[in-house]
């Protein structure tokens, strides 16, 4: 028996489409992607072939999650020479090779994980949906006003992206009270 074989249990965990929020909840607008993911999880129901994942700042450790799906929709804070709150949509080919190479400030990061997918022979078709942040340095759980105002529009962008891929979604009947404090879980 070969030492490294395919794990028969893997298949169950491979969605076709992955919606991935990334960022740190502790640094104001950097948590935007996670705020959006939490709202999506709480308020919307998706078919099994779609997974919605809070990727935090796991960076390269996300490789296991992102190397499986065919389509990847990333929600994150993106600096793209706009003003705070501007929404960006960066499609697969437009993700510049220079960011797909390691040029972000924190070298062990999500874009590096995406690059590494090439070595695993499955680069998911990726679109990055981003918001221009105002503040990613202040330690705090709240989004800045211009960025907070874009959570709802971003949710609509994600849903539109899913519709483009032929996914139908529904709103959950009873929407729980979603607090602005992402840690208010009881």
């Amino acid at each position: 028996m070969p030492v490294v074989s395919d794990n028969p249990f893997d298949a169950e965990n491979a969605p076709e489409i992955l919606v991935l929020g990334i960022g740190s909840l502790l640094f104001s607008d950097d948590g935007f992607g996670i705020h959006v993911i939490r709202r999506l999880e709480a308020e919307y129901a998706f078919p099994d072939r779609v997974h919605v994942v809070d990727g935090g700042v796991l960076g390269v450790n996300l490789l296991g999650v992102i190397s499986k799906p065919r389509h990847l929709i990333v929600v994150d804070a993106v600096r793209n020479r706009g003003k705070p709150g501007d929404l960006h949509r960066i499609d697969h080919e437009e993700i510049p090779s220079r960011i797909r190479a390691k040029n972000s400030l924190h070298q062990v990061d999500f874009l590096e994980a995406l690059t590494l997918c090439q070595a695993l022979d499955n680069v998911p078709r990726t679109v990055i949906l981003g918001v221009e942040p105002q503040d990613v340095e202040t330690l705090g759980l709240e989004l800045s006003p211009p960025v907070a105002a874009q959570v709802e529009p971003m949710i609509r962008l994600v849903l539109a992206e899913l519709e483009r891929l032929g996914v139908s979604w529904t709103r959950k009947d009873s929407v729980p009270d979603v607090s602005c404090d992402p840690f208010a879980h009881r």
Binding site: N61, N80, I99, H106, Q107, H185
Partner: protein, 551 residues
């Protein structure tokens, strides 16, 4: 004539670390380590429910989510005086063990190997000779001329497309690279295989960790994954554990030894003096007696006399850090008051401040923490699980135990403990199965939150000794401090002017080319630095953030 080199930031790490060294006569004669970002999560925790602390702390770092969560939960376990059930202890051990397997494989192949392996040189290798070499040194399941030809072609595509990706920004062709092209190609091939494996190993956490990829199953008093204790879930966990262990045994360790045999001089470089391990993996309710990875301190490299470590002897210094005052404090009394003046980076004056990291000391001494400390403490106590593999490595490489206190020893220790823990994990899975078979399915023990209490969670995680200290008043968090492995290792000097482990380790490092200080990266990376800044906004403009200044 002395010359200063600044490497800022150190790449292939989490967080923002700056290293400055002074070079004279081709060797490092002085060194300063500086954490460039303020990590003030302690401030966010004050006034909150202690039961929630772990949800916050696991967000402070992308690499260390589980380890901060477990440290926090243990600190509160200790404060509320709850004894967790056996199943909870086993599952916590298995999750921590899984973290070791995953992190160390990633570190060796993806964060550290490129300091020793020249990928560009691999393009010149003869695939047939590489296949013969691989057959000879490793028991890897893949190989053969065609396989290595394919890998080489893939590397070529990476290099020629200009999209070096993970292979960008390295010092290819540097004279300190010693491997022949064939060994480089073999290692590069295993880099890719290790990627596949790490993607799979990360699944271990999802099995008992609840929500992937942030573990949600930890609670004060135990774990909440009772529903996951089914035969299928446990079998899945065991399957991946075994697969990972096979990789470690048949690929990682042989690669480590093969690469190390070309770099034996690094047994004399990157040396430190004192080693601290809190230990981890309790095998019963009794701590520290039952810890599989034992607790202890080794002073002055004396392997004859390890002593029991006492968390009461820890202080954190701020005299050379950007915090108010100069008073060293125990973590229970710890303060996190950032310096109000301009945090000027000052490595020139005798009492200059130059880092956002505090400087932890044990009985006033700087101590290295991490794999090397784990392995040395186990070795010094003479525990056979630890002693045997160390002796095997020393014998294979034909080096004395004295060579362990080094960059070579640190990197070897990481592989050794991955092997030792992976072996033990399989036994823990079986213990869990037996216990459940006996009808014990308890995973949680209820407790009362006291009005006033304090507790400490001592852990030893892949990067080293991790302590969380909590003070509770009116059932809320009054004070929270954590002393993390990279703070021990990468701190600045303390009030007494003693260097931190990494600063000490860099002294004497040969520098072949000050503009390409590969040798510095080797020692710094050998600590697997992680200084958790967690700000990672995508920034297409920051094209050139990687500076080496020879000034």
């Amino acid at each position: 004539m002395a010359e200063r080199i600044i490497v800022d930031p150190i790449t292939r790490i989490e967080g923002h670390l700056r290293i400055e060294v002074e070079v004279s006569g081709g060797k490092v004669v002085n060194a300063w380590s500086s954490g460039q970002m303020f990590r003030g999560i302690e401030v966010i925790l004050q006034g909150r429910d202690p039961r929630d602390a772990h949800h916050f702390v696991q967000r402070s770092c992308g690499v260390c989510t589980y380890v901060h969560a477990i440290a926090s939960v243990r600190a509160v376990d200790d404060a509320v005086k709850v004894k967790i059930p056996k199943n909870a202890r086993l599952i916590r051990n298995l999750l921590l063990g899984a973290q070791y397997q995953h992190d160390h494989i990633v570190h060796f192949y993806h964060l550290h190997a490129l300091d020793w392996v020249d990928v560009v040189s691999a393009l010149k290798a003869d695939p047939a000779k590489t296949a013969a070499l691989a057959d000879n040194v490793s028991n890897a399941p893949w190989g053969g001329t065609t396989y290595f030809k394919n890998v080489q072609q893939r590397l070529k595509t990476f290099v020629e497309s200009g999209q070096l990706g993970p292979f960008a920004n390295a010092y290819w062709g540097h004279p300190a690279y010693k491997l022949p092209p064939e060994a480089n190609l073999m290692a590069a091939a295993h880099y890719i295989e290790a990627l596949r494996l790490q993607a799979k190993a990360a699944r271990m956490h999802a099995i008992f960790g609840g929500k992937n990829p942030h573990p949600q199953s930890l609670v004060v008093g135990g774990v909440t994954c009772a529903a996951d204790l089914t035969a299928e879930r446990i079998a899945e966990f065991l399957y991946i554990t075994k697969e990972t262990h096979d990789f470690v045994k048949n690929v990682y360790i042989p690669d480590l030894l093969a690469v190390a045999s070309f770099y034996k001089d690094w047994g004399g470089i990157g040396r430190t003096t004192n080693f601290l391990a809190w230990g981890d993996f309790p095998l019963s309710e009794k701590e520290p007696e039952s810890l599989f990875m034992p607790r202890g301190v080794i002073f002055k490299r004396n392997l004859e006399k390890p002593v029991m470590a006492d968390p009461g002897k820890v202080t954190e210094h701020v005299a050379r850090s950007w915090y108010e005052g100069t008073q060293a404090r125990h973590p229970y009394q710890g303060e996190t008051k950032p310096f109000q003046g301009d945090p000027k980076y000052d490595t020139d004056s005798k009492d200059g401040r130059y880092s956002w990291l505090k400087a932890p000391r044990y009985e006033g001494e700087p101590c290295e923490v991490g794999p090397l400390s784990h392995v040395l403490v186990g070795y010094a106590y003479g525990q056979k699980e630890w002693k045997q593999p160390v002796d095997h490595v020393l014998k294979t490489l034909n080096i004395p135990a004295e060579a362990l206190f080094s960059t070579l020893g640190r990197t070897a220790a990481r592989g050794i403990e991955t092997l030792v823990i992976g072996e033990a994990m399989q036994g823990w899975v079986m213990e869990l199965v037996e216990n459940i078979k006996k009808g014990d399915t308890q995973t949680y023990e209820p407790y009362e939150m006291p009005d006033k209490a304090q507790g400490v969670g001592l852990n030893d995680v892949p990067r080293g000794a991790l302590g969380h200290w909590i003070v509770i008043e009116n059932k809320k968090i009054k004070n929270y401090q954590y002393v993390v492995p990279s703070t021990w290792n990468l701190a600045p000097r303390c009030a007494a002017g003693k260097m931190s482990p990494v600063e000490e380790a860099l002294i004497g490092t040969p520098i072949a080319d000050p503009k390409r200080p590969l040798e510095i990266l080797r020692t710094v990376h050998s600590y697997d630095p992680c200084i958790a800044c967690a700000v990672h906004v995508i920034d297409p403009d920051s094209n050139e953030v990687y500076k080496v200044r020879a000034a």
